[in-house]
């Protein structure tokens, strides 16, 4: 999936300006990091891509299509093409790991055979195949995060967004998670990871976008 921001601004009703004049272009199959202090607008930028929020100025083009032209009814279909991983894992505790990962497939109406196959493939990729029957609560923080990643990729999205995916994990686990993202990127998925862990980001040697108070202050380098 190809993403292009053109002078995008987001001003909340409270008057707070979360993003202003943000422009960048993420090519199909590219991997990049998004850094900046907390409150710099990283989450807002991701929410705009998910159409959780709408920009107040500028254009966001996804595969060449202006997101503003999409109706409310089109939003779910847009979201099915995007996988998201959040710091708070947003796993449902009333069902097993398997059923958590199956959710995006259920929502898009896959049949049960397809669901079983794809869920196990996704769990295999994150190394949790043996934990499919567990309740997410019984897993460690790192394992929960990997369940979240499995859920984000189970639908074979064209874009993977991760907002602070290593937020409360130790460095070793963080590196493992980052390697996972890199693997997905290698098979052609466009990946954007928001993180304030500058040391880790620098080690990954990918393009880095830096936000400061809602403005894009750095694009390129390795942090």
């Amino acid at each position: 999936m190809e993403i292009e921001f053109q002078r995008v601004g987001k001003k909340y009703e409270s008057g707070q300006e979360a993003l202003s004049q943000v422009s960048f272009h993420l090519q199909q199959g590219e991997m990049a990091f998004l850094t900046g202090h907390s409150g710099a607008g990283k989450s807002t930028l991701m929410k705009l891509m998910m159409m959780i929020e709408r920009q107040t100025s500028g254009q966001i083009l996804v595969d060449g299509v202006d997101l503003r032209t999409l109706s409310r009814r089109a939003i779910p279909h847009h979201r099915r093409r995007v996988g998201v991983v959040f710091q708070n894992h947003q796993l449902l505790l009333d069902r097993s790991v398997f059923h958590n990962v199956a959710l995006p497939l259920l929502v898009s109406g896959a049949d049960s055979q397809q669901i079983a196959k794809r869920v196990r493939a996704a769990l295999d990729k994150v190394g949790l195949l043996d934990k499919e029957k567990y309740n997410p609560m019984a897993l460690s923080g790192g394992e929960q995060q990997r369940v979240g990643i499995a859920r984000a990729v189970v639908n074979k999205p064209q874009l993977l967004l991760a907002d602070e995916p290593t937020g409360n994990l130790d460095p070793k686990l963080s590196a493992e998670i980052m390697n996972l993202f890199q693997e997905f990127n290698r098979v052609g998925v466009t990946v954007l990871v928001a993180s304030h862990d500058l040391a880790l980001v620098a080690r990954m040697r990918h393009r880095v976008l830096t936000l400061n108070q809602g403005r894009m202050v750095n694009d390129g380098g390795f942090g």
């Binding site: 960048f24 060449g64 202006d66 089109a74 947003q90 995006p104 929502v107």
Partner: protein
């Protein structure tokens, strides 16, 4: 990022080119659609089973609310079937104008007996009337002291139809028609008690209808409130579903099915209540009826009425859920 005018220009052109290829909807597949519905139907039922106490309470409140108008309806149906069987010879008494000649009265009598809906006409002259009056009332002295006979000529018209609850209105029409004859001073249909009964029954009917509407609204509110709480308790799930691309219809569906189950099960237990109640009252009721007449069968909810009860309650359940879900699902948004 370094500005690249050429590339940006190219992208803009590609907007136009690709705009209509955007897959805003997945293609519709009937098998997928029915599979989803079937899954949701069973899952929403299992959800009720998993919270037995709360579910049973809601279902019982609905059942009680529905069995009240249902029971009254059965009662009314029985009263109606009893009164339908009561009939009597109907008589319309015509009091003619006092100054009318005998010949004119006789002509009217002949004319009326030729009418299709009239069985016979009995002619009571002034003299016959006076004799009858003297015999029956005990006012002989007063009557004989009068200078002349004050009684008018009377025609007793016997209609072909016997009077009962179903023929009352057509007999009333006949009476009105007879009253409109120029010779007739006053016409009276001897069915006052039946008229009163008809009025009481139609009052009862309206009472049951009004009560039904009120209680159906109550069921709507009960289901709505239960579904509202269900949506609230599944807030996290709704949010995650929205995040992974669930349509509003998909999110709404399990709650609508939940309303459906509440409605159907409430209707089922309401029907059961009515059947048990009518069985319970049947013995004394039949003994009571035997005192007056035989050949009457106590009626209860029949199959058609059970189906109707279930249909109405299922519809009310889904509708109540629909209102609640639409109001609450839009308030749960990702942020």
């Amino acid at each position: 990022m370094v500005q690249k005018p050429n590339q940006r220009g190219a992208t803009r052109e590609s907007i136009k080119a690709t705009k209509h290829n955007w897959p805003t909807r997945t293609s519709f597949s009937p098998s997928k659609y029915f599979r989803q519905h079937q899954t949701t139907l069973t899952e929403s039922f299992m959800r009720l089973v998993n919270y037995p106490l709360a579910s049973v309470m809601t279902i019982m409140v609905i059942a009680i609310a529905l069995s009240l108008p249902g029971g009254l309806y059965v009662l009314l149906k029985n009263v109606q079937s009893v009164t339908d069987q009561w009939e009597q010879q109907s008589v319309i008494t015509l009091y003619l104008f006092p100054n009318l000649e005998d010949t004119q009265a006789l002509a009217l009598s002949h004319r009326l007996s030729a009418q299709a809906d009239v069985a016979s006409v009995e002619y009571i002259s002034k003299e016959e009337g006076l004799r009858y009056f003297e015999r029956s009332s005990g006012y002989e002295q007063i009557m004989s002291s009068l200078p002349e006979n004050p009684l008018p000529i009377v025609l007793r018209v016997i209609p072909k139809q016997a009077v009962d609850i179903t023929t009352l209105s057509s007999l009333q029409a006949l009476r009105d028609q007879l009253a409109a004859q120029k010779e007739v001073d006053y016409a009276e249909l001897d069915a006052q008690w039946l008229q009163r009964l008809a009025n009481i029954l139609s009052f009862g009917q309206r009472f049951v209808y009004a009560l039904s509407v009120l209680l159906v609204v109550a069921v709507l509110l009960i289901v709505g409130n239960t579904i509202r709480m269900a949506v609230e308790s599944r807030r996290d799930e709704v949010l995650v579903m929205k995040l992974v691309g669930a349509t509003d219809a998909y999110i709404r569906r399990p709650f609508l099915y939940m309303g459906f189950w509440f409605g159907v099960l409430g209707g089922f237990f309401a029907s059961l209540c009515i059947l048990v109640l009518s069985w319970w009252v049947s013995a004394p009721a039949e003994r009571l009826i035997d005192l007056y007449q035989s050949g009457f069968q106590l009626q209860t909810f029949n199959a058609d009425e059970i189906v109707l009860c279930l249909t109405i309650s299922a519809f009310v359940g889904v509708f109540g859920a629909w209102i609640a879900v639409n109001r609450h699902i839009t308030t749960i948004e990702l942020q």
